[in-house]
Amino acid sequence: MRYSGLRLLTQALTGNRGWTPAWRDPQPKRAYDVVIIGGGGHGLATAYYLAKEHGITNVAVLEKGPIGLGNTGRNTTIVRSNYLLPENHNFYEWSLKLWEGLEQDLNYNAMVSQRGVLNLFHSDGARNAAARRGNAMRLDGIDAELLDKEQVRAYCPLIDVDNGRFPVMGGLLQQRGGTARHDAVAWGFARAADARGVDIIQHCEVTGIDVEGGRVTGVQTTRGPIRAGRIGLAVAGNTSRLAQMAGLDVPMESHVLQAFVSESVKPLVDQVITFGAGHFYISQSDKGGLVFGGGLDGWNTYAQRGNLPVVEHVWAAGIAMMPSLSRLRGLRQWGGVMDMTFDGSPIIARTPVAGLYMTAGWCYGGFKATPGSGWCHAWTIAKDEPHRLNAAHTLERFRDGRLLDERGNGPFPWLQ
């Protein structure tokens, strides 16, 4: 059923009784050409683009719970492509382009809002790094602007430019960056993939991956075995566990990232702003809640909850950046389990096991990658080779020393 304002009106007149499920709830078949493990944004997008771009529709997305409640359903929704390394910013830019036409493509309003993303800096060194990044982006045709202190003040008057412990020197702005409605992204991809014949199978946990002669043949699930010619992993923080089912240890650790939302208030913060002198970033949801977060709790965990020290740091950094937020109240706090790699960049690649692919290692930045990751992952699965855009995002790069370490933090996932 196509969504439109008119449909909304006619349905309203008939008591909204005619709406049908956004996606079917099918029984798993015995075999599929491709099985995607993980019904987050990345898995669903992979399935959608397999069907749409490559005509592969005998596809199942297996999700252990309800779709979209992993990191897709708990992230702070920032989309941008302002990365330093060309391997990264060219990929993310493609993803951003997909975002720009996503709603019309999916016929689902994911509320992609290009409200601008501003990264503040507070020192000469950080300014130079921002300039290097912004210039790198501009050379590759991606929008970026360097704001000085006065421009920052004008852009967002709530920012304390002068009086903080680390006064603001300026910021790197990407106007085309912004936010998108996280839940709608999962639902929109699910609905569109379903419409193209993909089976979305919820409450179906993969418990084993069958490998014969170095090649995948299928999966074991809580709803029985399912055969598959090719398997794509898109399970975020659970990648290590799934990869181990196929006999692989991957350079990845699982860490929790917290997020917070304040009580809802009238429009206050119209952009996405990140602090440069502590871990803090913020935007305001359409519902009015200020959505904010910071850094990792910093130790391996699979639990979707965080602890007070990070709360204290993030909230203090928030007040340092925007002192007027002080009297607002925090409403809710949660966490998501991040698939942290050892260089902070993702892996979209074939694996040493034939027929097994993964899109993983998204760290705390994979929401913005959702369409691009699905698109490249689908390409890699369909053609058994990477697209130019994900050619560098291999598993082997760690062994080869061809790291994509944006920030130079080294092989310490908890610092990435």
Binding site: N16, E103, Q104, N109, Q114, N135, L139, R181, K266, R329
Partner: protein, 976 residues
């Protein structure tokens, strides 16, 4: 007449004192002991807010934290605080509040016209529309949605109040001071435990506060607790979150019950409480029933109406009707009757009940086996339609301005659930109660599903004893009988009209069913699709009702559907409180060198280096801009002599039999061959082969070294050393001490350096022969001990003088005096940077965690023999690739053109980046701007020209690629 709805007597308010306050500009009066909500009700104010989406009129619904409707902007200006629950706001004289989410006024809210479009504004409608044209989302639709949404308005100025943190430890933390919590605290306290008792209300007592007959027990228990030295009582303190290892967070509202905090007093205090055992006596929240019009001002939870009557001395209406599915709620109605409220009757879905009989005995008419199918009225309730259950027969219209609702109770399991205690379904109460806890924790009283004062108190005493873990002393307990809290689980009355399950966010039963129909069948999907339980009250009164409606749609039992995850904050808490004192300049600590005050007195401009403050440069009146200062300082060094505070460099004293072996393994070069009294420049890699840090290390004795690190990496290098010493090579005899703060250090550089310091340094022959480049020695300056290092970062003849930091200023002044005749000039970090760039020394911008030794032209420093950290992985193909960018120098081809760090190097006309500029400066040794860059094929490009492009500013500068060593590549000067 003011306070028309005040009862003649009773309640815990102080009728002898009058407090004046304003709501939406109008003046009212109340009494100490009132909340804003009770005071408004006393004055007959019913309409207090507008709902989130449909802007429907809203009244006061509860008497506690669960309040969905009665949210106000409290105070004004920089102290404005949106979304304050009127039911928690303690009245004070001069309080000012305003209603929110309405335009232009509460009574005439234009946005309420949108309610006409309500059928279109069904759950998730925005996902289905607003997609065309694409560009309209940011420009038109989204701003409209945003303006209509949101609740109160935040302040836009910095908060003038102070906040604080507090760390606490206890044997037993009791959360909630109702009968259960008071009893638990008393038992544990009497048993000798260290107890903390937190109560979010300003009065201790919980349910006791609305039961005058138990006032005596309450008072006696409270004073017993107050007399116990090891019991800390924290009223106005909300425990907001339950974290791992029995650590809980709480916020104490120290000064919210006054207009502004007293001087020297924080507004709120954030407590981190580490408890051996926790007793959760958080009580219960009454729940609503979904029936059409259940959101109209005048509809109120039964227990709340009782609390207003008996605790606050307020009649929440003139004529009350009860709609309840349990006997306990009748007690509330009786309390209203006793308080002088006219009673319209009781509507009970049960065919017969003890409550109904008791009501009839009090002359109250009861519609049994009945339900409420709708309400009438505008911005206030006029009446309700009563009908037989299921809709048989005709409706009866009952006139009432207060409709008390009770659908049963939900134990406040928020904190228990956050601590991973599983929830268990309780059939009698048709709700969840805590199961067996995972951590050392007990739930007691209504929080555990044990209702009634006597029962709750007894249960609390039991929990207190269990928490004590020892023989528990007996305490007096209240007695009495309690009405039955068991319910007939009805959740919804299906009739025409909107029946709300989330009153704040306008989520109706139909919305839940729509979500289900569209496939959002899981409770978490339904929550997100409809926004049910996502408001400031987090569905405390209606959450389970929505779940029940969903369960019915799914054809399942409520307990099989579950509830959305309970998360902190059990009740929202102030952002500023958690930030505590870490605001403004105190966001992070400040680190100052021993010479800081000298720098201040001498007009230095400071810059941040991590937490350090360092002088950037020292402007003098004749300098017209910063560059002039910097160039002046740098020239002084190149031509005569300058002095720079380099105390911030990390310094580590390394001792032990194996100190040299240890350093050999840490650094890429060798230290075991270094002679005593000599220093060597060292390079350290990370284990992944990337450069980590550099610095000079001096050998003070066979078994003692003095290591320096870069300023920013000081702590990381120390930890790196300790890690390897303790985990990889625990057999080595090495001791490490940070002496960064023990030693102040100043670099004296320039051709006149020796002439300067030779005058004041005693005990060292500073002649070139006796004290050559890289020599180290101990001496004195005017009786102060100093350690002199002949090392140079600037490329000039230079000595570093370190002295115990208490003598820093004395030694510094001695050097200044000695160098005065040469024009000795203090120089800051900017000039230091200029000098090192001219010399081609790498620093933070090049040692950025992405470069290898070879990239930086330091490959020769990797020793060929022996292990060192990073040796193996540095040889990976990707790190030895000859295509990697390497260090080069740059000059602007046109000498007057400015270079910028962060520019990229391209071939003219191309946008392909071959590298980037890491550091730039105006030079003093040569003309114009110079820089360092990382450039692919750098060595081969030396002598060529490229474009340095800075698209962010639209600048392109032609540059010459040159050797990075602009000054004295042969190192003549440093050895002079």
């Amino acid at each position: 007449m003011t306070q028309r709805f005040r009862t003649a007597s009773g309640g815990r308010i102080d009728r002898n004192r009058v407090l004046r306050f304003r709501f939406d500009g109008r003046a009212y009066e109340g009494h100490p002991g009132d909340t804003l909500a009770s005071a408004l009700l006393a004055n007959g104010v019913r309409l207090v807010g507008r709902s989130f989406k449909l802007h429907r009129p809203r009244g006061i619904f509860s008497a506690g934290t669960e309040e969905p409707n009665a949210l106000a902007e409290l105070r004004s200006g920089a102290r404005r605080e949106p979304n304050t629950r009127m039911t928690m706001a303690e009245l004070y004289d001069g309080l000012e509040a305003a209603s929110q989410n309405r335009f232009p006024s509460l009574r005439f809210d234009l946005l309420s016209l949108g309610a006409l479009a309500a059928p279109v504004l069904s759950a998730g409608f925005y996902y289905k529309t607003f997609m065309w044209p694409a560009s309209f989302w940011e420009k038109v639709y989204e701003p409209l949605i945003r303006r209509a949404a949101g609740l109160g308005r935040a302040a836009r100025e910095p908060d003038p109040d102070q906040y604080e943190t507090m760390h606490a430890h206890c044997d037993v933390l009791v959360v909630g001071a109702g009968p259960a919590g008071l009893a638990a605290a008393r038992v544990a306290g009497a048993g000798g435990a260290r107890v903390i008792l937190c109560e979010q209300d300003f009065e201790l007592g919980g349910g006791l506060l609305m039961e005058p007959e138990h006032a005596a027990w309450r008072d006696e228990t409270v004073s017993a607790l107050q007399s116990m030295a090891e019991v800390t009582i924290l009223p106005r303190t909300t425990v907001f979150g339950y974290y791992d290892h029995n650590v809980l967070g709480a916020v104490e509202r120290v000064a919210d019950h006054v207009a502004a905090p007293l001087p020297n007093t924080p507004r709120q205090r954030y407590w981190t409480i580490r408890a051996k055992t926790v007793v959760l006596a958080t009580g219960a929240h009454e729940r609503l029933i979904a029936f059409p019009g259940n959101d109209r001002p005048g509809v109120m939870l039964a227990g709340a109406a009782q609390a207003y009557a008996t605790r606050f001395g307020v009649k929440a209406g003139a004529r009350a009707l009860l709609f309840a599915n349990n006997d306990a709620a009748y007690d509330s109605l009786f309390a209203l009757q006793d308080a002088g409220v006219a009673i319209a009757g009781a509507v009970d879905p049960r065919p017969e009940s003890a409550g109904a009989s008791a009501a009839r005995a009090r002359g109250i008419s009861v519609w049994a086996d009945s339900e409420i199918a709708g309400t009438s009225g505008g911005t206030a309730l006029h009446g309700a339609h009563v009908r037989r259950r299921g809709g048989a027969g005709t409706d009866t219209a009952v006139v009432a301005d207060l409709l008390c609702v009770s659908g049963g109770i939900n134990p406040a399991v928020h904190l228990a659930s956050q601590s991973r205690t599983p929830l268990r379904w309780n059939e009698a109460l048709a709700t969840y109660v805590p199961g067996v806890p995972v951590l050392a924790q007990h739930s007691a009283g209504a929080a555990a599903g044990v209702t009634g004062i006597a029962e709750a108190a007894a249960d609390g005493a039991k929990a207190g004893a269990a928490a004590l873990g020892a023989a528990a002393p007996a305490i007096p307990l209240p007695t009495g009988t309690t009405a039955d809290a068991r319910v007939l689980p009805i959740w919804e009355v299906k009739a025409r009209g909107k029946a709300f399950v989330d009153i704040q966010d306008d989520v109706t039963t139909d919305d839940i069913r729509l979500a289900h129909r569209e496939g959002y069948k899981h409770i978490e999907h339904a929550k997100r699709y409809t926004t049910h339980t996502m408001g400031t009250d987090q569905g405390k009164t209606g959450g389970i009702v929505g779940a029940a409606v969903l369960a019915e749609a799914r054809g399942e039992r409520v307990q099989d559907v579950g509830l959305p995850t309970f998360r902190p904050f059990a009740t929202p808490v102030t952002w500023g409180a958690i930030a505590g004192a870490h605001v403004g300049k105190h966001f992070a600590p400040t680190r100052r060198t021993a010479l800081h005050e000298w720098h201040v007195r001498n007009g230095a401009e400071f810059m941040d280096a991590g937490q350090w403050l360092r002088p950037a440069y020292y402007p003098i009146p004749t300098d017209t801009d910063a560059w002039e200062s910097v160039l002046r300082e740098a020239r002084a060094v190149r031509r005569a002599v300058g002095i720079c505070d380099v105390s911030t460099l990390g310094k580590i004293d390394v001792q032990g039999r194996d100190a040299a072996t240890f350093l050999d393994r840490l650094y890429t070069n060798t230290f075991s061959t270094l002679a005593v009294g000599r220093a060597r420049y060292g390079l350290m890699l990370r284990e992944d082969g990337i450069v980590f840090d550099d610095g000079t290390t001096s050998r003070l004795a066979e078994d003692r070294f003095f290591v320096t690190t870069t300023t920013v990496n000081a702590a990381a290098v120390m930890a790196h050393m300790e890690f390897h010493l303790q985990t990889a090579w625990p057999d080595l005899d090495v001791q490490l001490a940070s002496v960064t703060d023990q030693w102040a250090a100043m670099s004296i550089a320039g051709p006149k350096t020796r002439d300067t310091i030779a005058r004041i340094v005693d005990g060292i022959d500073l002649s070139n022969g006796a004290f050559p480049f890289m020599a180290v020695g101990d001496g004195t300056v005017q009786g102060r001990p100093v350690r002199v290092f002949r090392i140079s970062f600037s490329g000039e003849m230079a000595y570093e003088i370190a002295t115990p930091s208490g003598y820093a200023e004395q030694v510094w002044n001695a050097v200044l005096a000695a160098g005065r005749e040469f024009g000795i000039t203090p120089y800051g970090v900017e000039a230091l940077g200029l000098l090192r760039i001219e010399k081609g020394h790498v620093a933070g911008s090049e040692l950025n965690g992405q470069t290898t030794a070879a990239d930086l032209g330091l490959a020769r420093m990797l020793k060929k023999r022996g292990d060192f950290i990073g040796r193996t992985l540095a040889q990976r193909a990707g790190l030895t690739d000859t295509g990697r960018p390497t260090l080069v120098g740059l000059r602007a081809a046109r000498r007057d053109e400015k270079l910028r760090a962060g520019a990229h190097l391209v071939e003219p006309g191309s946008t392909t980046s071959h590298g980037w500029i890491t550091s730039v400066t105006r030079a003093v040794e040569i003309e114009g701007w110079i820089g360092l860059a990382m450039l692919r094929g750098g060595a081969q490009r030396i002598g060529t020209r490229m474009h340095a492009t800075f698209p962010l500013k639209g600048e392109v500068v032609e540059v010459e690629i040159v050797s990075p060593y602009f000054v004295d590549p042969e190192n003549q000067r440093v050895r002079a």
